[in-house]
Symmetry: C2
Subunit: 298 residues, 2 copies
Amino acid sequence: MVERAVTIRDVGPRDGLQSEAPVDPQRRRELAVALAQAGVAEVEAASFVSPRAVPSMAGAGDVFAGLPALDSVRWWALVPNRRGAELALAAGVRALTVTVSASPAYSHKNVGMSPLDALAALVEIAEIAVGAPEPAPLDTVVSCAFGSPFDDVADVGVVAAMVEQIRATVPGTVTLADTTGTATPRRIAAVLKATGTDVGLHLHDTRGTALANALAAMDLGVRWFDTSVGGLGGSPFAPGAGGNLATEDLVLVLEDGGIDTGIDLDAILRISRGLSSLVGHAVPSRTSSAGRLPAFGD
Amino acid sequence: MVERAVTIRDVGPRDGLQSEAPVDPQRRRELAVALAQAGVAEVEAASFVSPRAVPSMAGAGDVFAGLPALDSVRWWALVPNRRGAELALAAGVRALTVTVSASPAYSHKNVGMSPLDALAALVEIAEIAVGAPEPAPLDTVVSCAFGSPFDDVADVGVVAAMVEQIRATVPGTVTLADTTGTATPRRIAAVLKATGTDVGLHLHDTRGTALANALAAMDLGVRWFDTSVGGLGGSPFAPGAGGNLATEDLVLVLEDGGIDTGIDLDAILRISRGLSSLVGHAVPSRTSSAGRLPAFGD
């Protein structure tokens, strides 16, 4: 794969759709494939969670069953526990994301476990990922990494300690998630100072700050961002979580700044504009409505 | 007046309401006063334009007639020409904004003049402002300063030349307006490199970039921002212009960064949440719905 200045993982088929009314697995797969065809090199296509807990993610196996093996894209799946990891690998998933939360209250709501138990489950998942015939890359996503809607993540210390523990116990990468859009450039800088910049960022736009936070993190050296086409998204377990940073919003600004993402903005805008018929409402991204920038040279 | 780290001029009663269905002058005045009571030290309360051209700005004299003279706030009015300036001063206005556009097409639509003629009108307005019994501060707002929806502002050169001409011919300050949200951090840096940072910025959030642009400009040294409570706004003469940078979005982030604006965020959120009943729809600001940040320390 070509080395990009910035890597964007589109989590639209997973995070983007998980709080929407259920969409047929075939259409979720088509969305994932369209994103890959638009040049997105990392796509989170589904999560292997209980369909009782998250009805919109039912049929993850069906989503993956029809995904083409392409050199240009890596398909990710979110798994909540050992059982989910086994199902995912059996369904042909080759890259896993796992969420652990800095917030005890959110951890209980999201995965029914304390953060400590979630870390223990993470170790089990890592063993399965590493032990697979073809070892699967593992990305551990730390949710509520910039504050918690339940007011139980008071400072950088708890996040830094969790990242340290993850790095000490499991292989793979770490992504810091701003689950309910409580990050600011000041908080981004404070957390990155503690964790280093070799992390991904998963930002939500609950307060309109996601793009500013992404650019602040880029200035500090972060090179991996989760986004969602159309700015869809939000956790069903965090009220008012707000959509993800929109893929098109980030690509628009990076492209204008001469930074290669490998992503075709026009293709993303076409996908984004088709989403309203999939989810039954307008998407949050403002770029989706406004479209490309007129030219303006230095 | 206290020296603030950043000065915010709320243009909600003017730019925020000019594209909405007409609101009674008394309620526009109450909005302006509420903003002042929330600690906003600069408020653009109305524009003295033709009510045929901009029906929502009818009754500007009535708005100003009841505005209290307070040490803590300066009330601004936008004027399009000599006649508007005379009306404004007669109505008791003591601080004037005037728009000239870098885009010929937008200039014709907005003020019915070429940019050159608008510059000539600006000189007339400046004479009236300076010649008033108590000379009125004058702020010249350059619209389409980061690109034009009519594709007739191709580069920094035309904007820089206009700013130079303004500074050479009239007294007062200059504000650069991103009338249709085509700015990016790259464009902000390029324009400021040519004009210097002793300018205000008036940003629209058409593509979700306004906050990122404001913070990029702050990093470069800009200290004056036009915003609109609730993120209302948009030019009736630029299709799809999009709302202004929301006052609460900027204050939220600056406050979290320890930067004093003098503005009470809770009071702004209360005003913002009352706007939907005034304009008949939800406001664009996401912070308005999501509210304050939970605490998160370094």
